[in-house]
Each structure stands twice: as structure tokens, then as C-alpha cells.
């Protein structure tokens, strides 16, 4: 998922709708994110392109709302509730995900296997 600065990015995405879960006082989603434009992209173990500063899913808690909704380890989050996640700082991303007054987040995520799946299914026709 390489990109050129200033050019539109295109990717095959999957819609994932996560319903937050109340845990005590907190609403949780059940995964962790890493990355951001203020982070060092070379330390991202999930990105294909080591200059990619996008937000990636670095951990999914078992049985949590994210896993149930279909989020997988290593996914790159492109949008959260319409907010772009490809060019945000780490904290901005975290904030967009953890808004208190929202209990559903709709993500657009992409992963390598999606592209391949689409390509394969296209080849079959």
C-alpha cells in the first residue's frame, strides 16, 4: 500500500462496524493502534511500505468488540466514522476512536489479503 505524497490513495477496503462495550465506566473497542504521522514508520511491523505513516491495528483483544466485528491484526485503518486516518497523528487517531458520546464506530480498513482476494475473484470471471 505505497503512496505518493499529494496523490490520491486507493485501496480495497472493508467496512467494519464496532460497537463499543461498556467496561465499568469506560467504553472500549478492544484493540490497539500504532502509527501516525508523528511516529517513526520504520518501526511498524505490519506495514508493507516502511514509509507508511498510517494507523495500524497492532493488537486485537480476544473476544472483544473489535474481533467480533471482524477487525484483524495488522489492518490499516483508513477512516473512522468518516474521519480520515491516513494522515493523522497518533493521538488524533486515538481521539477519533474514543469519543465518549459515540458508541458505534464505523471503520474502513484495508489489508493485503483483501486486495488479493478481490484480484483472485476477478480473475475467476
Amino acid at each position: 500500500m505505497s503512496f505518493i505524497p499529494g496523490q490520491p490513495v486507493s485501496a480495497v477496503v472493508q467496512r467494519i462496524e464496532i460497537h463499543k462495550l461498556y467496561e465499568g465506566d469506560n467504553l472500549i473497542l478492544g484493540f490497539s493502534i500504532g502509527g501516525g504521522i508523528d511516529q517513526d514508520p520504520t518501526q511498524n511491523p505490519f506495514s508493507e511500505d516502511k514509509t507508511d505513516k498510517g494507523i495500524y491495528v497492532t493488537r486485537v483483544s480476544k473476544g472483544g468488540p473489535a474481533e467480533v466485528a471482524g477487525l484483524r491484526l495488522g489492518d490499516k485503518i483508513m477512516q473512522v466514522n468518516g474521519w480520515d486516518m491516513t494522515m493523522v497523528t497518533h493521538d488524533q487517531a486515538r481521539k477519533k476512536l474514543t469519543k465518549k458520546n459515540e458508541d458505534v464506530v464505523r471503520l474502513l480498513v484495508t489489508r493485503k489479503s483483501l486486495e488479493e482476494t478481490v484480484r483472485q475473484s476477478m480473475m475467476q470471471h
Partner: protein, 632 residues
């Protein structure tokens, strides 16, 4: 004479045939391959093959011409005395080529530009030998083009001319859907003006590749295959010779062909830095050896028999030949260098042949050694050898001062990928479809490798990271799963330390109580046995996967990952405190309207004072080397 000529002829012919075969192979590969990288490599080999074929054919041509000339000369008159001494050949090596680039700052900060990438490589030619370096992809992020290859040319004369040519080929990235506007944009940006276009077209003519037809002889006019695929263009060139040879790095000027409008253009600074070393054979090989007699001491009859070996800047005298082979120290070493004077002395009445006197200046003193060979022919041969040595040294000049080291390139370097990553995490190939269980297995195996168990005396606590019911739960870490949000508590950020040095300050955090002394400092940070915690509500305190792995390797820096989110102390812990520490956010409002409920609730752990923790958290967050992860 004729035989050797024919031999050389057939040698060259064989080489030509070989290169033709290679070229055909490269053409086929070029036609067949789909990947851009492969195409670039194949095109490079094609260019190299073409260059080699041309070189061989021109050499054939020259040889034939020389043959004809000789025949003419022999017929016309007897050739003059072959007085001309020819200098010895040598090895020339060029290594560590580095070509600095000079990007304009507008290039660098351009938002609209495509990431202009070029594939470049160097072609080096000396005499009949042509070598190419590996291909390097160059884009805006590089400051220099570096070629790691060491190229060694054998059989170079002192008047050698080493031609260095830099070829480059524009490489457009291939993009999936939605690339139409981009293609258009790149087409527009690389469109040429009329004059530049004419130049380009001229350059694109396969003139460079066509086989030269020669006047006579049996060389074949090779058909030039027209190939699709990436074409390399000459970007810059320079010629190096003996005056550029030095035992250290030097910068040489490059002549740049091409201009900004070419697609293959790269902003070169104008120089090339490299190490050009030469080892003339007179320095590395024995030029002469034989039995000699040396007059040692002052007595007129004090002759000692030695076995003399003339090599490099010395005449080594061994007791006997076997000593030299056994690498025993020579009895006597006489320097033969530019300052040495050698003359044949007056005929000694006692001996049959003339003596050879070698005079050197050692310090301020003149020292003369007298040698004698067994017979007049031997003396003559030795004198001849000395004269040849002097001649060689005068031809090779600075190369004969000291032997320059030439490191032969290692036969096969395995392709090195990801040089930047060094953590255990990066060595583990985690397929995205893997579940954590697989990772656990990998880690378990790694643990055994590292024998951490031995060190710790207990199963690593982080194993509890992955399982709800960890199979080997450490006694003092009973898992507790009150909620689905179970494993991976985010680590206490202060514990995520970048360097072991800082660790001590952190050890004070809950972990100070009983970190096992035997544990490496980095690991200490990973865990604090919950035994220190006071209250009963346990959560297995876990660090994120990456932080653990990095501690396993004991690396403070690379691969150090930590979650540097300030952990929620307890339900009563003041939220404002932790959000105030959120340094990445410009808003310093303590009202955590975004609800940083992302923090774990690490209940049951004794907390240090808020100030110390917050300072640590701040420091950890500010460190750019940490790759933040947040739990949401």
C-alpha cells in the same frame, strides 16, 4: 608467434560467443518478465553484454591490424632493436564508489511531484575488461548513490584508462486502480521540448548497441536485437588513470551528459568519490630469484652464499631457497627503491664476473652491498632484472612506494533486507492471519533459546500476555479476567525505558520491590511481580508484545516498543493528570472530553508519586524512537 596470436584470436572469439549467448538470454528474459525490477536487471545485463561484445570485437580488430602491420614491417625492413622496455602489468581495483546527489529543496518538499525514481548502475571499463556494478534505485530520499562493489581489473598497464560510466533509467512506479490521472500527470511532466526531444531520440537510437563493422577479417556483423523494456541512458562518465591512484578515497570530477529534461536525469553534484588502488606485479610477484653471493663484513673474502629474491621494493636474501618457501626471515634485506643506485663494479680479479654494488641511503648514511652472481650470464640477468624493476617503478610511480591493499570481493553476498530492523519482533514473520497463539509458540521457542528461564528462575511473566488461562501461570500472577478486555494491559509507561541507564529510575516503580537481580536490566523493566501489589484484584500485568520482545533481546533502542500511554491508576485515579501528560496533543486541557478511557485500569498496583510518573510518561512520549501504541 602465430600460434599465440591464433590462440588469442580464438579466446576472444569464444568470449564473444559467450557474450552473444548471454545477450540472447537477457533479451529473452526482458521480453518475458513482468516485474519492473526484473526488467531493469535484465536491461542492465543486456547493456553490459553489448559493451563487452563491442570491446572484444574492437580488440579483435586491433589484433588483426597489428598482425597486418607486423607483416608489413617485417617485409619492409628489419625492425629496430626491441629496446623498448615494457613495464610490468598490475592489478587495479576500484571500490566504494559514491556519487553525491544535489536535490533542490523544492524537489524535496514538492507535494505534487511523483516520487521520481531512477535505477542506476555503473559500468567500468579498463582495457578489454568490462564490469558492471549492482543496480541501485535512487529517489529523493537518497543523498548519495553508493555502490558497494569492489571491481578488480587484472592485467592493467601503468598507462591504463579506467572509464567509469553511470547509466540511469527512469523507473515509474506501478500502481493499481486509479492510476490514470497519475499516468497523465507523469506524462505531462516528463514531456520534452522539441530540441530536447530530438536529443532524446538520437540517444535512443540503438547506435550504441550496434556491432561495429570492421574493415576486414572474419568478424560477424551482429544483428542488433530491438528489445522492449527499460532502456538505460548514459548520465555521467569520467576516466581515471594512474595519476588518480591513491591508497585512500579521492574525489574525481564527473562529466555529466544529459540535462534536466531527460527522464533519466538525476541531480548529480558533479563528482564521484572512490578508492582506486593499484598493485603492480613488480610489487606482488617475484621478479627475479637466484643464487647470489654477498660480501658481508669488511673482509675481502667474506662472501656468503644466499638465495636472493627480488620482490617489490626489496631484495630478500635467504640462506637457501627452502627458507623462502618456509617463510623464514631472510638473512639480509636490501632495499631496492627509487633512491637506490646499482652499478656493476670493476671486474674483480678473483671472480669471473662483475660485482654488483647496491647503494642505499639509510638515514644519513650510505650503505653499499656488494653482490656477485655465479656467472656472467647470471650477473647480466640480475642487472637486467634490476633495470626492469627500476623501469617499472618509474612507470607505476606512486604505486610502488607501498603495497596498496586490494580486498577481493567476497564471492556471494546474500541479499540484505531490512537493515534497519534489529528487534526480535522483526525477525518473526507474523502472517496477518496468524492468531496470537501462533505468536505465543514462536515466543516460547525463542525463550528457550535465550534461556531466560534460567536467568529468571521462573517462566517469563509475559507469557501470560497471550492466554486467558496461561498454561504456565506464574504463581504470583493469577490471571484474572473480569472482562473481555483481558490481556495486554498497557504497560506502565515509565517502565518502558529506552536505555538501561534510565531504567534504574524506573525500577522504583512497582518493580523495585523484587526484580530478580540476575535479570538483565532490560528485562527488569518488563515485569514487576504482582506480589508487590497490595490489593487483591489482579490483572496480569503485561507489556505489549513488542516491548516484551525487545526486552528479550536486551535491546534498548531498536525495536523498542512500548505503550506509553499513562495507565489509569485506579478508578479513582485522576483522569486529568494523565491527559495533561498527553504531550502529543496540543490541547492541554485537562478535560478529557474525548474520554481517555483508553487507559487500562491497572488496579491493585502500588503507584509511585504522580509527579514522578508523569515526568516519566512525558519523557517516554516525547522520545521519538518509541513507536506509540494506544489501546482503544
Amino acid at each position: 608467434m602465430n600460434n599465440t596470436k591464433n590462440q588469442r584470436d580464438s579466446d576472444i572469439q569464444k568470449k564473444i560467443d559467450y557474450e552473444i549467448r548471454m545477450r540472447e538470454g537477457a533479451c529473452k528474459l526482458l521480453a518475458a518478465c513482468s516485474q519492473r525490477d526484473q526488467a531493469l536487471e535484465a536491461s542492465k545485463s543486456l547493456l553490459t553484454c553489448n559493451a563487452r561484445i563491442m570491446a572484444y570485437m574492437s580488440e579483435l580488430q586491433r589484433m588483426k591490424e597489428a598482425q597486418v602491420m607486423q607483416r608489413v614491417a617485417r617485409r619492409s625492413s628489419d625492425a629496430g632493436p626491441m629496446d623498448d622496455r615494457s613495464p610490468c602489468k598490475g592489478k587495479v581495483a576500484i571500490s566504494d564508489l559514491r556519487i553525491p546527489l544535489m536535490w533542490k529543496d523544492t524537489d524535496y518538499f514538492k507535494n505534487k511531484g511523483e516520487l521520481h525514481r531512477c535505477a542506476v548502475f555503473c559500468l567500468l571499463q579498463l582495457g578489454g575488461e568490462i564490469f558492471d556494478t549492482d543496480m541501485v534505485m535512487v529517489d529523493r530520499t537518497l543523498t548519495d548513490i553508493c555502490f558497494d562493489n569492489t571491481i578488480v581489473f587484472n592485467e592493467a598497464g601503468p598507462g591504463f584508462e579506467l572509464r567509469v560510466e553511470l547509466y540511469s533509467c527512469c523507473s515509474e512506479e506501478d500502481y493499481s486502480a486509479g492510476s490514470t490521472p497519475r499516468k497523465l500527470a507523469s506524462k505531462l511532466s516528463s514531456s520534452l521540448g522539441r530540441s530536447a526531444g530530438k536529443k532524446m531520440r538520437a540517444a535512443l537510437e540503438p547506435g550504441a548497441c550496434s556491432a561495429t563493422s570492421n574493415g576486414g577479417g572474419a568478424t560477424i556483423l551482429l544483428p542488433v536485437p530491438s528489445v522492449q523494456g527499460p532502456k538505460y541512458h548514459l548520465l555521467a562518465h569520467t576516466t581515471l588513470s594512474l595519476s588518480h591512484v591513491q591508497d585512500s578515497f579521492r574525489t574525481h570530477d564527473l562529466t555529466i551528459t544529459g540535462n534536466e529534461e531527460c527522464s533519466y536525469w538525476l541531480p548529480l553534484y558533479g563528482g564521484v568519490c572512490c578508492r582506486l588502488a593499484a598493485q603492480p606485479h613488480c610489487m606482488t610477484q617475484q621478479m627475479m630469484s637466484g643464487c647470489l653471493r654477498v660480501k658481508l663484513g669488511g673482509e675481502p673474502q667474506g662472501w656468503t652464499n644466499v638465495y636472493g629474491v627480488l620482490k617489490g621494493t626489496n631484495l630478500f636474501c635467504y640462506h637457501q631457497k627452502e627458507d623462502m618457501e618456509a617463510k623464514v626471515e631472510p638473512v639480509l634485506t636490501i632495499g631496492i627503491n627509487k633512491e637506490t643506485r646499482i652499478r656493476a663494479a670493476e671486474k674483480d680479479p678473483h671472480s669471473k664476473a662483475q660485482n654488483i654494488c647496491i647503494t642505499n641511503q639509510y638515514g644519513g648514511e650510505e650503505v653499499t652491498h656488494t653482490l656477485a652472481a655465479d656467472s656472467r650470464e647470471d650477473t647480466q640477468r640480475w642487472m637486467e632484472a634490476f633495470w626492469q624493476q627500476f623501469f617499472d617503478m618509474s612507470q607505476w610511480r606512486q604505486c610502488c612506494d607501498d603495497l596498496m591493499k586490494i580486498e577481493l570481493p567476497s564471492p556471494r553476498k546474500p541479499a540484505i533486507v531490512t537493515p534497519k530492523q534489529g528487534s526480535l519482533y522483526h525477525e518473526m514473520v507474523i502472517d496477518k492471519s496468524d492468531d496470537i497463539g501462533t505468536v505465543t509458540d514462536i515466543l516460547a521457542r525463542r525463550i528457550e533459546e535465550f534461556e531466560l528461564r534460567a536467568q529468571l528462575g521462573s517462566p517469563p511473566h509475559w507469557m501470560a500476555l497471550f492466554d486467558e488461562d496461561p498454561p504456565h501461570t506464574p504463581q504470583h500472577l493469577p490471571p484474572h479476567s473480569p472482562s473481555p478486555r483481558l490481556h495486554s494491559r498497557q504497560p506502565r509507561s515509565p517502565r518502558c525505558q529506552r536505555t538501561p541507564g534510565l531504567l534504574s529510575s524506573n525500577a522504583s516503580l512497582t518493580s523495585d520491590s523484587d526484580s530478580p537481580a540476575s535479570v538483565s536490566p532490560c528485562f527488569r523493566q518488563a515485569w514487576s511481580p504482582v506480589a508487590s501489589s497490595s490489593s487483591g484484584r489482579f490483572r496480569p500485568r503485561t507489556l505489549s508484545l513488542d516491548a516484551k520482545l525487545s526486552t528479550l533481546r536486551g535491546r534498548g533502542y531498536n525495536g523498542f516498543r512500548c505503550n506509553c500511554q499513562p495507565p489509569t491508576a485506579s478508578s479513582v485515579s485522576p483522569r486529568p493528570t494523565q491527559t495533561a501528560l498527553s504531550c502529543s496533543s496540543s490541547t492541554s486541557s485537562s478535560s478529557s472530553s474525548e474520554g481517555s478511557n483508553s487507559q487500562e485500569s491497572d488496579l491493585g498496583f502500588s503507584r509511585p508519586s504522580g509527579a514522578r510518573r508523569s515526568l516519566r510518561i512525558l519523557r517516554a512520549k516525547l522520545d521519538p524512537r518509541n513507536w506509540l501504541q494506544s489501546q482503544v
